[in-house]
């Protein structure tokens, strides 16, 4: 949540606190919320000094937290009053208790707001709130064998793979789409097959262990093949699933040229998504498993 607010406010770590506070005030004013009630709470949450023109916060820590959560909900609802808003809360199985509390408060307000909340979580996540008519649980299932086969064709660009390769892919991926994609790419990059008249044919006997058994191995293998670029991926992974070029440059013991080349290769290998152009760019690991593998 804090990271999101920082993005909204176009946070620059170097910017003086007064500038950040002005941006915050403008954002709050933009959605027509009372400055005096919202700014001190949100500023405190973001570790910004609250100027003396605001009354000091004299609440108990518990009360202050409650009011901060309420202010954040009010902020989002005010935005939704101006235009419909889609909010996405990803990977709730890792959410901290305050984030879940915020979400719980927000849930009560959803039915009368122009707001769609899309929440994602692993199956072990148990929602801490009661079932509601406007909450739709949608559980994603594994792909069937024909679906896996269709997906293989889509990844190869319509060129069929030898039946025994497809057989192994079906067996080892268990219908998990990301595994299918990564294993097909591993096979295509491995030199085990070559293209011949719109099809792929085996270049030799197919070793049974040609396909890594787990995605972690598959991703590791792809990263290894990229050589020195692996170091760039590892640095990015320590920053987070999403990281800014500026941050990476600040921590990387590499010159700018090496860093940009490395990132470009990771984007070309489709392990990272890129938004913007360095030095303003941000990068996103395609999947947390990619981040973990690095």
């Amino acid at each position: 949540v804090i990271e999101h607010l920082q993005r909204v406010l176009h946070w620059h770590r170097e910017a003086p606190p007064e500038t950040l506070l002005t941006t915050l005030e403008q954002a709050v004013q933009g959605v027509r919320l009372p400055l005096a009630e919202v700014v001190p709470l949100v500023a405190t949450l973001l570790s910004l000094p609250v100027p003396e023109r605001y009354p000091p916060l004299t609440l108990s820590p518990q009360r202050q937290k409650q009011q901060t959560l309420e202010a954040l909900v009010a902020w989002l609802l005010a935005e939704a009053a101006q235009q419909p808003v889609l909010t996405i809360w990803e990977d709730l199985h890792w959410a901290d208790p305050s984030t879940l509390e915020l979400l719980g408060l927000l849930l009560d307000q959803v039915p009368t707001a122009r707001l769609l909340l899309v929440l994602t979580a692993r199956p072990e996540f148990r929602p801490p709130w009661a079932p509601r008519s406007y909450v739709t649980p949608l559980s994603l299932t594994r792909l069937t064998r024909p679906q896996v086969e269709e997906m293989v064709l889509r990844v190869t660009g319509g060129k069929s793979l030898p039946a025994e390769v497809v057989q192994q892919i079906v067996a080892k991926t268990d219908g998990i789409p990301l595994f299918v994609e990564e294993l097909v790419k591993t096979v295509l990059e491995s030199g085990l097959v070559q293209e011949d008249a719109g099809h792929y044919v085996l270049t030799g006997p197919l070793p049974p262990l040609a396909i890594p058994a787990t995605l972690q191995d598959a991703l590791m293998a792809r990263l290894d093949r990229l050589g020195s670029v692996k170091e760039v991926a590892q640095l990015g992974a320590t920053v987070g699933r999403e990281f800014a070029y500026e941050v990476l440059r600040a921590v990387a013991p590499l010159d700018e040229r090496t860093l940009q080349d490395g990132l470009a290769q990771l984007v070309a290998a489709e392990l990272l998504y890129q938004r913007g152009i360095p030095p303003q760019a941000t990068y996103l690991f395609k999947h947390t498993l990619v981040q973990d593998a690095a």
């Binding site: 990803e90 039915p111 889509r154």
Partner: protein
């Protein structure tokens, strides 16, 4: 196909995509909705969200993404 866009091809998720679109249409008209997408790692949660996001952003509506991380589970918000 995937190579051209950098995206995992979407196979067998027609029902899910249409449900998400329908819920967005309801929300846009003032009947706020919540969809909880659950599934194991790699099953395609982020991919589905991406489909919806593209559509919504194309329509000019704002989108907020909050991402929880295993590295911050113990710090508030």
């Amino acid at each position: 196909v995937a190579g051209a866009t950098g995206l995992t091809p979407l196979v067998g998720r027609e029902v899910e995509v249409s449900l998400l679109r329908e819920r967005w249409a309801q929300s846009r008209d003032g009947l706020g909705q919540v969809v909880l997408l659950s599934g194991e790692a790699g099953i395609g949660k982020s991919r589905l969200v991406h489909v919806l996001t593209e559509r919504v952003v194309d329509a000019g509506a704002p989108r907020l993404t909050l991402r929880c991380s295993p590295y911050h589970t113990n710090s508030a918000l």
